[in-house]
Symmetry: D3
Subunit: 278 residues, 6 copies
């Protein structure tokens, strides 16, 4: 083999400390999630003392993960693990509300247990709740590893920076993309293939709000694409499947899309979208 | 940490028996699949006796999984494992037909081995064949765990309740969604991003047929969206890429979609879809 | 259980040698990738000698994988492992260029480390670089296992046969499909849901170029679908989100799509796509 | 490397079926033991149904182990697994009696739990109880694998053929050797380093009783060596530490050994052993 | 299978909480040991912060082990983990002295690294140092699990209650037994097969000193057996191989043993032991 | 925790490279052994090519182990792995002869498979054959790790430096100690608890022959202790159980030991050892 090549890689390898591997981060997230939702858990605890020690272990692991993080935040993140665990009851409550939203939003859902144990949407929003909290404390890279782990498992790609309100409902979910600076209100429902994206790809816009705002009680049907940092979907709106929006719509809008289609006899076949895709 | 929060979680944890973890269910499915398709297998058997014991083990594991299921079916499911294994030869035959359909349906496919070992479509339909059989015996949750496992691995989301005919062909597959009450005939071919969805999300419609019927010999190209429980695609039809359908079409239909597009000189650029997306 | 069924499976099982399991192939790929990109690595090396031995191990493992491959290439592939490792420095350089392209192409990307450790696009193109090299040496099945492994993890489905130029940038990526005979130039950028597909599904066309050609400096926004072996997107073109193209466009084209939409007041709402979807 | 050598090994390797590895046998034994003694267990069962299935699994595993055994018994061992599990309640009762004997026989023992979880003597006699039952059903090799597993963990070497009565007490245990044709009564207590061995090493004596008989209520102190198939230690005897016996002693014997020793002033220092070594 | 038997076991199983398995305790000990002796370690730490967190993890694990312990101490052991870790620097220093003693005491020892990484005597005394400290804090069962783990690996059986001075040297070690109430001074050297045992096996003597006292600078050669709680070996004594002692000897004694032996010509062959056995 | 203590350990930890852990070395030895003796193997090979690659992997692993060895030999050991594998056919032949010796030497042995799969003596001498070969090439520490691994599993402690002839037979084995400079001829048979030890423990004698020489066709019964570098047991001799020898005996000697014992009536009970202990 090419000796020069091996030399080059070896030098780089030496310069690179062992970061927390994505597997370690993912395992921590899984264990935390199954602590918050026993339906999800593989473990049993024989006493409350033991359960408390389990929490301490999770906190310690977070501490270790943060201390090996190759990309440091600017500010002091010494006490992030402490602060994160203080915030956990509130995060847990949000997750419970998300379960409620998904149970109520999907006719096929039979029980909270089914949502918790099988819904990719629950998994993805839970990962986001955790990743977003860490992101807000200024932690670099780790939140992204968590959200990419959920992306890999569910096909749902939510940037840790996105701000998402309570009672968030995802159905099916594959192909959803929610950008870094998106802002989403409460009681929003999102189907597979929805994109909340940007209109600009200039590196110089990295610190600008590049993704849309979705107000409360909005439904975004499958494949809807909403683009741009100034685009706002007013509350109580419904955006139809495959709709493409790059400007704002006022509250209570119903935007659906009307395509021309030719059937096999060549006649025009007007399809008016009135419903949804789930 | 917040003691009250920990107490609350601990109480819930105590109330929750250890269900069969999704990993256990997934492993059982993988082992069953590799028993049916040796190409897929990591194991070797030295005698027929040993192979028979392996089958008994798989049946015992299913029994264990069902006995730990936190959501019980209404009816007696005592003999589900027995009945399931009696059905297995028929299920296996269906899977073989699915392999045939995918081998013949994809110019890039070189051999049955390649389909079995690498096609996400084969993996997803196999999971569905198993999950659907369990679902029909009245088993709760476990079929959904199996289908979500396949969803997670392939991006193909088929509800265990969907009824799918023989010689089913999936190509690429990412983003496919097939709803709980969909009915699909024989020799149907489905590309990535196809949705067979519902028009209603009312919880009160949970027991109504909410998803479409696809008759024999239909091809659904990439991104086609067919919605509604009363929508039927007549046999031998072709539904073009990205077509959006919420009403029925008769047999031998060819529905494609004609969009207006402006090219860079501002001229209208009519694209007639005549082909497919694979 | 059905004895005849078990007998049949057992006979088939005996006829089937133990192939390299997809897990083994995936693990080899992961270890190779983390050798090329220490940021990704879980391992540390204490001396250059040790690092060299690690390379030899990777080569030996490839040799083992190839020797157990149930589908043999026509030609002699005896020296594939040697030749592949000779090519590795060049492949590595391409991967580095892909990192550069993704870092520069996404405003949200903070560092090369973040791209390497968290971007599904980097993972998918890296798998393709490896799979494609093996494919070109005439190796059957194994390249497909590698690309399906990446497909399963990222939702990005690139056939090992596709020819992709330098500085390839993928953003988000879920749902991307790139066909076997696609040819892509340098500095091309592709968003989620893009399909480079075929127009024909005849088995007899298996050896014909069925997928499009994308020249240098092209951007394909989310959901764009380009179909057909004779379709060429001229260099420096931009293809808008959800655009559907089955014929060629000249260099410097800007193809976007203009849909009619009715807003909630029934007025037509013209949406002109001018931007992008990330 | 020497090609001829590799060829030779490869041919032998091909001729050799994959036997149940010692690890598989050991794991089966460990799981069986922890089912009989929950103190030892790492597993929890949520219902009696589940516990019963666990038993069935253990029986199935035994069936698999026996069916892969490279050395077959002469007679039909088809139903050994069934017969063994029928015998299990009786074996379990014997083990309970062994716990009682060790708890009462060692001043340092605090509880049954301590004996079950930490005493090598308990582990070794339990392995023997299981191995001996299989040995009596005519199973070859597997009993020996079990007893050598216990030997490796405890330094206590009991041949599966040895017949050992109830309430058997082992203290410390390292170095104990009990031969194939030894017969031991009830309430016998044995310390570390005791040998019950043979006087003949002729292969032609393989089917003759070559090891001693120990009647009820005998104590064998550390390092005692009793040799020969005709040697019988009468009931209620005490054999002192390091005593070497090759002939029988009547009931109620107390055999101890009297050595001459010179202390540092050269005087003879007579040591009369009256006690024990634990 | 016998249903009554299974019922009985199931009831007992339900009554038995999941204790910390011996594997968990052993793993904790191994990790602690490799933290104290990096030569032994499989892990690397990239920063002091990370190393400190590793210590915290070990403390947390000890806390968890103690909280699951099925046998509780009488007194409050709430703060045992804290107190144990405060004591750790002193324990570590003792272990270092033990390494020194073994390096100096064995002509075959080449380096501290060799002693730490390969000497069973080092492993056994290290386990004892840890187990004894926990034992002194009143912890039940766990110290015994640690010492039996070392017994199983090394054949050296030291009860956690034994009090052992500094600079303890073990050579070879297999078969060594040191009883619960033995007291050993500094700079003592012990060879394989040495027993420091009791003369009484009455349960009522459980709280009495039953095992001997060994003063400073004593050498006990292979197979020496010292018995009884009132037996004291005076300082600077040498006890020869296989010597059997049940009474005290004064300081500076040299006790060796003189056996009569007949050589093959029937002549008496007096062997005077003057040396040692290593 | 004590900060200074942690600092001290951290500094030492940093100074210590990650050596090959004993587990890695043990695993390599186990895999090598099971390659040489398929009865022992858990793996199957589908082609000779694959089997050859397996050999290359074992050689590569040895290379890696040697390159991480913290204690280097004085001389160049660059080519040790090559030389070792050249020697392997000869080592293998010796092991086969050891199997023959154990099969013929133990009336309880039923087949070569039983010896290979269950005899601790076979395991220990095999480890010695490998360790001794590496020792002779000047490798430090690794041979000792191998022999201590076998010691831990079998209780048989053979220093890698000992020179042992062909057809070596070990029965039971627990407690055997064979020192660094012992020399043993062909067709020697050794029972449990035999020591071939030294008379001097002076560090300055480290390079002198300190352990005995055993000529061809000698039998050493259980517990026999032979000491001193000048002690030679002449060929065709038999050394009785528990005999203690510190001087040489001529060929064809039969040394047994005659103890005085008092039976329970106080009469002297002369025991003449004529047999053996197995």
């Amino acid at each position: 083999m090419n000796q020069e090549f091996i030399n080059k890689l070896y030098i780089r390898q030496q310069a690179c400390p062992t970061c927390p591997s994505p597997e370690v981060v993912a395992e921590w997230f899984n264990e935390l999630l199954s602590t918050l939702f026993p339906d999800f858990s593989k473990q049993q605890f024989n006493s409350q003392k033991e359960f408390e020690l389990h929490f301490e272990k999770l906190k310690l692991q977070l501490d270790q993960i943060l201390s090996r993080n190759p990309i440091k935040a600017e500010d002091d993140i010494e006490e992030v693990a402490d602060k994160f665990f203080e915030l956990l009851p509130a995060i847990h409550q949000q997750m419970e509300q998300d379960v409620t939203a998904m149970l109520e939003g999907d006719p096929a859902a039979k029980s909270r247990t089914e949502v918790v144990r099988t819904y990719p949407g629950f998994f993805a929003i839970s990962a986001h709740r955790i990743a977003h909290a860490l992101h807000r404390f200024g932690v670099q890279l780790i939140p992204r590893i968590i959200s990419e782990y959920a992306h890999s498992k569910t096909g749902i790609d939510i940037h840790p920076g996105a701000s998402i309100g309570n009672f968030f409902c995802i159905d099916h979910g594959t192909g959803i993309v929610i950008g870094e600076t998106a802002i989403i209100g409460d009681h929003v429902k999102v189907y597979q293939g929805v994109t909340l994206g940007g209109l600009s790809v200039d590196k110089k816009d990295a610190k600008v709000k590049r993704h849309p705002t979705i107000e409360d009680n909005v439904v975004l049907y499958a494949g809807a694409t909403i683009l741009g940092g100034k685009t706002t979907i007013g509350h109580d709106s419904i955006i139809g499947g495959n709709v493409w929006l790059t400007h704002s719509v006022p509250p209570f809008s119903k935007v659906y899309y009307q395509a021309q289609m030719n059937n096999s006899e060549g006649e025009t076949d007007i399809i008016i979208f009135k419903g949804h895709t789930a």
